[in-house]
Symmetry: C2
DNA sequence: GAAAAATTTGACCGGATGGACAAACGTTAG
DNA sequence: CTAACGTTTGTCCATCCGGTCAAATTTTTC
């Protein structure tokens, strides 16, 4: 494991301004991707001049890297919490719900991540092959245990996890498409409630008709 | 409906070169997004000089627009075919399978589309709110009919469609992540076979345990 | 309140990028 | 052969963009 850089001493102003910049950078990066974003855009969104921004972050890359590291910490938290102590179906439902809440409450983070992956994950590939793979493998084992115990249907745990990621993050990443198709009738709250209900049913009950067969 | 531009007369060479360029543009755009791609990159990928490329396409925007229009025709084909003539579950399975095949065989098209949506669909929003919404609404009615007839479980047809899109396109859009997590053991063919099996089970049988409850 | 340190900004630089243009090159019809 | 047309390229331009720098301004420290 690479040792983390020694935490630089920062003044109060530095702390605040760096937060302000990261907030603005998240907004811009998540919308336009790394190459599609300009330092000027971020500086304007943060309400400061470009050189001033560059006083707090050495480079555009530096901002993106910092955002990414921070993102990955919170992004994997729900999966980490995924434990084999409780009832499997409850545990699964909780995970789906939390991932969906994250898509609702942190859509920019989701899109930032999606942008990075879409473009080949040039900056986070090692993390995917290391930390992420290890975590998923570990949780796949937990799920396999449930299957062995007959608690849930036998299937591929990895693809189960992928499908939960895909369906929940879809509501953040493809938000404009979802909104365009559903029309303006259903507000944001309603949309996510419907989605939660649907996904719960899909993953927990399935689409098999109840009445026959 | 806006009338299509009158088809310009083109020489054989123009036909061929335009195809060559679009192929290269798809490669580049799907990887780096619109703003992240340069005409030079596309020109090099197409094996010609930048001015030569610009002889066949007036601008970068022009290439992207052409690609997008072409993409949307083929992209919605599986959904259009989705009919209420056959057995609902068979119809659904067929749709899932075809979408997954498209993710496998046309990942660049999928990523091109994902890039566009991620960035707010600036160039195709009208199509989403018009053509796409109408088509989805129509198919949602078909699905609702199946539910009324007790052929499949009652649930939200729109979110069902979203979840099929999300899960299948995930294997194209998040391909690097999927590969990183699964490791090199499972080749491309195996991955998609596993995915097909899993998605079929998820959508058709559900995750409810068979043995008890 | 003055020195020192931290912050902010205008001006600037070099390279990349989208695109224009005219000249050169090829190809073909008569 | 040659005029006309289609194709290709070298050169050029204006703008954008990431980043630097020195000077100005503000804040902190003593």
């Amino acid at each position: 494991m690479t040792t983390a850089a020694p935490a630089p001493r920062r003044t109060r102003i530095q702390q605040e301004k760096r937060e302000l910049i990261l907030e603005a950078a998240l907004e811009v990066f998540s919308m336009h991707g790394f190459r599609g974003s300009t330092i000027d855009q971020i500086a304007e969104a943060a309400g400061m001049s470009k050189p001033n921004l560059l006083y707090y972050f050495r480079s555009k890359e530096d901002m993106h890297k910092t955002l990414m590291q921070r993102l990955l910490q919170t992004w994997l938290a729900p999966l980490r919490d995924f434990d084999n102590v409780g009832d499997p179906l409850t545990e699964l439902r909780g995970y789906i719900r939390r991932k969906l809440e994250m898509a609702r409450d942190y859509p920019r983070e989701s899109r930032l991540f999606a942008n990075e992956i879409l473009q080949g994950a040039p900056r986070i590939m090692p993390m995917l092959e290391g930390e992420l793979k290890d975590l998923v493998d570990e949780k796949a084992e937990v799920i396999k245990g449930w299957m062995r115990d007959g608690k849930i249907a036998r299937t591929d745990p990895w693809h189960l996890i992928f499908s939960i990621w895909a369906t929940t993050q879809h509501y953040a990443d493809f938000d404009v498409q979802v909104r365009a198709v559903l029309g303006p009738d259903r507000g944001s709250e309603g949309r996510f409630e419907d989605a939660a209900r649907f996904l719960e049913q899909l993953f927990l009950d399935g689409l098999r008709p109840r009445t026959n067969s």
